[in-house]
């Protein structure tokens, strides 16, 4: 009975704390500007099914991709087991679903095999980070925290999976001994090999089984509450993030309607722009100037660095790293969120995303090549943020290098980015 009460309190606390954090993240994301990404729902479901559920972009790199699918499948499916654990925990039952008989055995067996695959995957991942030190996992933005975050997650998964398998082994051994309420249920293709490692006394076995049970479920609840602070939040956000991702041709940059209205008014004095929907700045200086999808992108980023590893600017030693663009956006958004908690909405701390986080040197190094958006396994678009920051620098500040300014004035005056006379446009036809 006491166990049931402790369990229920732990469960409730974990769920409440998690909801509070998620609410905060949703509030932060909603600091962004509105944008309509609910068109073409069919295509959106399809994209989500393919990219998030089907992990189509992960397997572009086969080793990491397949291992990730193990871990991901394991994670999702083993969580079905959590449902049973929760019911058992609240009602003091033991293996409540065992009445399913052979289907139950099938389920437990699959969980075990998946748990083993997860262990393999996670150990490979750890090795890549710790032993091999893959280049993709380093870089200026990969400071102490993001690096340890990745390691923590992997270690937690090793512990959770080990606890799960040990629990099953102890349970199985007790079943074989016909002890107390340990009815024969389930099938244990993996943990049966652990039997020899366990003590024979039923008391110790019960202790181990219970300890692992508690460790496993409390671990999961703790992990749940770690998610919102970690890159691991992508396991949730990958789904909405792909659903709301950009479906247009990658080469197409968004149209700024605020500019369209001004340009129309300039070209045609009789044009009356539709009643100002929102007065904001042109482009983005800070996170609030970005749209909510860009902000959700920031929370979804897995910090995998696939974008940066294909970025031509980064590859040639420039400061720009699309992963850093996303991590900076998230860090700044978190900061703005904390300011809001402390001082209320609209508090100005004198800082901004541009300059305090992302430098001019970074945004101007981009070739807008779309390699980053193509590589991102969860359809994040760092390029759109870079372009919005540029728009601010150009249209609000006129702060660009002389040569770009010269290009602008050439386009404006000569109709070409170079200083040639428009009258010479057809000269190509007069040569051979």
């Amino acid at each position: 009975m006491i166990a049931q009460i402790i369990f229920s309190i732990a469960l409730l606390t974990a769920v409440i704390l998690f909801s509070i954090q998620v609410k905060k993240i949703i509030r932060n994301i909603n600091l962004g500007k509105d944008t309509n990404r609910s068109d073409r729902p069919k295509e959106r479901w399809l994209t989500m099914a393919k990219v998030a559920l089907g992990q189509s972009k992960m397997v572009v790199r086969p080793v990491a991709g397949i291992m990730h699918i193990f871990v991901y499948l394991g994670f999702v499916i083993i969580n079905l087991e959590v449902l049973e654990i929760i019911i058992d925990g609240v009602f003091g039952t033991h293996r409540i679903f065992s009445f399913l008989g052979s289907f139950y055995s099938f389920l437990i067996a699959s969980f075990e095999i998946l748990a083993l695959l997860v262990l393999v995957g996670v150990i490979v991942f750890l090795a890549r980070r710790v032993v091999l030190g893959l280049k993709r996992f380093s870089g200026v933005e990969m400071t102490a925290w993001p690096k340890s975050d990745a390691i923590y997650i992997l270690v937690i998964e090793v512990l959770l999976m080990s606890a799960f398998l040990t629990m099953n082994a102890a349970d199985y051994k007790l079943q074989l001994a016909g002890y107390s309420h340990y009815l024969t249920a389930g099938s244990f293709p993996v943990s049966q090999y652990l039997l020899g490692l366990l003590p024979n006394s039923t008391e110790s076995l019960v202790f181990i089984e219970r300890a692992c049970w508690w460790f496993h479920i409390l671990g999961i609840l703790a992990f749940l509450n770690y998610l919102p602070f970690s890159k691991h939040f992508h396991i949730i956000l990958a789904f909405p993030n792909t659903w709301y991702s950009n479906l247009n041709a990658k080469g197409r940059f968004n149209n700024m309607t605020s500019v369209t209205n001004e340009v129309k008014a300039m070209l045609d004095p009789s044009f009356t722009p539709p009643a100002a929907t929102e007065i904001g700045r042109f482009g983005a200086k800070d996170v609030q100037d970005l749209n909510w999808v860009q902000l959700m992108n920031a929370y979804t980023c897995t910090e995998c660095g696939r974008c940066t590893s294909v970025c031509p600017a980064n590859q040639t030693g420039k400061l720009l790293s699309p992963r850093k663009i996303m991590m900076d956006t998230r860090d700044r958004l978190e900061e703005v969120g904390k300011n809001t908690d402390k001082h209320g909405k609209g508090y100005d701390d004198g800082k901004s995303l541009l300059d305090d986080y992302i430098t001019r040197e970074e945004i101007w190094a981009c070739t807008t090549c779309n390699a980053c958006t193509e590589a991102c396994p969860v359809n994040i678009d760092p390029l759109s943020i870079i372009v919005d920051l540029r728009r601010y620098a150009v249209m609000e500040e006129s702060n660009v290098t002389g040569s770009l300014n010269a290009m602008f004035s050439n386009v404006e005056n000569n109709g070409a980015p170079w200083k040639y006379s428009p009258a010479d446009r057809l000269n190509w036809a007069n040569k051979d």
Binding site: G251, V259, A313, T401, R425, N427
Partner: protein, 271 residues
């Protein structure tokens, strides 16, 4: 030589402008959007001429805007100057609509992308194709010859332009146009959706690069040298400039030829 004429193999062809066609009460099947690089850059002008010869050779009735053409606004948009972009776009749309243009072909992936994807929202709706797509169609319909000729047995590789490939998902058309030659088509290490940029996009063409270890086109040369290609085929005037500079950087002008797909097709057809 007369104005607006080029002379392939001693036959003079006239490059008609829309204004001239209009005056004659005619309409072209397709507008050839030349683009700024294709109009002014010496090397790119050769691509423009090669493509015009192809259009003439297969008997497509085409026209250019000539002095009425203006920058699509692409470099301004990528560099963050949305005002300038939209000013350019709207005045271009006025010109295009005045001539009732329906279909456009261009040899520049940047113009292609902008006209195709970014003009509709500002009221400009046209069917826009890249010249490699038209060349592929012409080969398939048998209007363009495809046997290798000069390229027989040569190693050819293709450098994907970002705004054609990743930007618009066109990977096959340029390859189809090359495959058909009796050449040895080799892929670069980073190709198709994983292709490496030449370094010119996003306004980089018009500014000094930021500090770094090397320039992007030099990095791209790693792939090109590794492929040991005799010919690097390109489909963009900016890539042409960057890859040419890269080849020069390594003093490989003798070994490696950089040609646009239009130039290759024109050559194969004796134009």
């Amino acid at each position: 030589m007369n104005a607006n004429t080029i002379e392939p193999m001693n036959t003079t062809i006239k490059i008609p402008t829309m204004a001239e066609m209009m005056a004659a009460g005619e309409k072209p099947e397709i507008l050839f959007w030349v683009g700024c690089a294709g109009s002014y850059d010496e090397r790119a002008q050769r691509i423009t001429r090669a493509f015009a010869k192809i259009l003439h050779h297969v008997g497509i009735k085409f026209a250019v805007l000539g002095t009425e053409e203006s920058c699509t606004g692409d470099p301004a948009k990528r560099a963050g100057n949305e005002f300038l972009f939209q000013m350019q776009a709207m005045s271009n749309i006025q010109v295009l609509d005045a001539y009732e243009i329906k279909k456009i072909v261009t040899a520049c992936p940047h113009c292609f992308n902008t006209l195709k994807n970014e003009y509709p929202e500002l009221g400009g709706n046209y069917e826009v194709i890249h010249h490699t797509q038209l060349i592929q169609e012409l080969i398939e319909s048998g209007k363009l010859k495809a046997e290798g000729g000069d390229f027989k047995g040569k190693k050819i590789t293709f450098h994907d332009p970002c705004y054609l490939g990743r930007g618009n998902g066109v990977y096959e058309a340029p390859r189809k146009a090359l495959e058909i030659l009796d050449a040895d088509l080799v892929e670069l290490k980073r190709c198709k959706s994983n292709g490496l940029c030449c370094g010119a996009g996003g306004g980089q063409m018009f500014k000094e690069p930021e500090k770094g270890k090397k320039d992007v086109n030099i990095e791209r040369m790693d792939d090109i040298l590794q492929a040991k290609a005799d010919v690097v085929a390109v489909g963009c005037p900016f890539c042409m400039t960057m890859i040419n500079d890269g080849v020069k950087h390594f003093n490989k002008e003798q070994e490696i030829e950089v040609l646009d797909i239009a130039e290759i097709s024109a050559k194969v057809n004796g134009l």
